[in-house]
């Protein structure tokens, strides 16, 4: 059965184009992907991303469980800090990518992809050999993301807390729009800067409306998942299910920087071997040199016409007005600047391996 977020009536009133995503009926676009994309890069946009899952892990064994199931080193987190991480299986394949929040000495929040909520929960329960307390609050919490150069100015009107004191990948629990203890997190998936707000469902509609009013002088607009995808692609951020999945390892996916071998975790041995031998495939950025849009599943070939990989997600970059993509290629073709061809419905078009982000991040 298709789930609705607490903001479904708002999307309907805004005449959003809705589509199923990970079991939720989600807004794909409002005014149009390109206009929404530009709004986030230049002004400020508001997203309903309540489909994301939130698990709470508590107690003296919480850290031990998180350390074993994730690749990054959660022991370095202090209260108020956020960490990007991966859950890996015994083969080193990525079960999910996630954010780990340290809320208190022995309380953590894991924010996971909507499509993986059930799989991740089962994995957490199966690995809970000691006795950490686990709570799934995905169905009680909404997540509103406010992104763009005017995101801080917009939200500042709703709280007395000085928001620019919260650094990137940090959060505070504070009073905002009269709601006490809201997790206000300087994170996002756009490269435009801004905050993500974790709010109880019953306060979500009022909060959305207050943000829309607060941002009206900055021309705030609602942004759908379509523009969320083009924004994250310009940054080269992975999307689970496209660019990473159970068969890809963090080392192949360019996530070596969140894979820490100074601790024990599921799949560590396999990944350590892969690191020694070198990954055979690498996730890279692909930038078209000719007119054409690289899309999921299209073949990547070397300049001799031999297949070397495939596109995992791609689009027309609204900022660059060029086709950009992520895709896996053979390691010997993964160097920035390597010329490749993309098979766009039978036409072999020139492209090259590009440095990421494709567009400069606006995060200060």
């Amino acid at each position: 059965m298709m789930k609705n977020t607490a903001l479904a009536a708002i999307h309907q009133s805004l005449n959003a184009k809705m589509a199923p995503f990970a079991g939720y009926n989600m807004p794909i676009q409002y005014s149009g992907i390109i206009e929404e994309h530009k709004t986030v890069r230049n002004q400020v946009g508001i997203f309903d991303v309540s489909h994301m899952g939130e698990f709470f892990v508590k107690g003296p064994d919480a850290l031990d469980l998180i350390q074993r199931i994730t690749t990054n080193d959660a022991s370095t987190l202090y209260i108020g800090q956020v960490q990007y991480s991966c859950m890996t299986n015994e083969r080193g394949g990525i079960i999910d990518d996630l954010l780990v929040y340290r809320l208190d000495l022995e309380i953590y929040m894991l924010v996971v992809n909507a499509s993986n909520i059930e799989k991740d929960w089962n994995w957490l329960v199966d690995n809970n050999h000691k006795n950490a307390e686990l709570v799934d609050r995905s169905d009680e919490l909404s997540l509103i993301s406010v992104q763009g150069p005017y995101a801080v100015d917009t939200l500042q009107r709703l709280t007395s807390y000085q928001l620019n004191l919260i650094p990137y990948y940090h959060f505070r629990e504070l009073m905002l729009n009269g709601i006490p203890g809201m997790i206000v997190s300087n994170t996002g998936y756009t490269g435009a800067g801004g905050f993500e707000l974790y709010v109880p469902n019953h306060s979500a509609v009022a909060l959305w409306k207050a943000i829309m009013t607060a941002g009206s002088s900055y021309h705030i607009q609602p942004i759908g998942l379509g523009a969320r995808d083009t924004l994250r692609l310009e940054m080269g951020y992975c999307l689970y299910g496209n660019d990473i999945d159970d068969h890809a390892t963090p080392l192949e996916a360019g996530l070596g920087w969140i894979t820490k071998f100074n601790k024990v975790f599921n799949g560590k041995e396999v990944l350590q071997e892969q690191k020694m031998a070198g990954a055979k495939l690498k996730l890279v950025g692909i930038r078209m040199k000719e007119r054409g849009i690289p899309r999921y599943g299209y073949r990547i070939l070397n300049t001799d016409g031999e297949p070397i990989g495939a596109i995992t997600s791609g689009t027309q970059s609204p900022t660059l007005k060029t086709g950009i993509a992520l895709g896996y290629v053979a390691a010997d073709a993964a160097a920035t600047g390597t010329n490749v061809l993309v098979d766009i419905r039978g036409q072999l078009l020139s492209a090259c391996v590009s440095k990421m982000p494709f567009v400069q991040s606006q995060i200060k």
Binding site: K17, I33, I34, E35, T230, T315
Partner: protein, 130 residues
Amino acid sequence: MNYPEHLFYTQDHEWISFEQDHALIGITDFAQKELGDIVYVDIPSLDKIIAKEAIFGTVEAVKTVSDLFMPVNGKVIAINPLLETNPELVNQDPYGSWMIKVLVTSASDRESLLNAEQYQALIVSNPSSH
């Protein structure tokens, strides 16, 4: 949504306008809304004779790509030069933004096309991804 009476339509959401000695072909308001922001209109079929229901080009939106199908048998005699640099015109004015100009080679083709009323009924009965 808007479906002018003087046009004919296909099940694949193209429109065709029969002028005196040629026809103009484009995509419908429904089609442009479904596709979203259009970034390329790619038509490699200039001067070619294309059979009815065969592909005469593709239209690329940010989110997706879609083939364009011939509503009639005909020879492509012109491509709208405005769409090369301003493909978004198709979103803004789908019926003003013809994609190809065609010499229709068989007059009987017209019979299997939909009129505005029939096309509208098709959209209502099959709202696709909406």
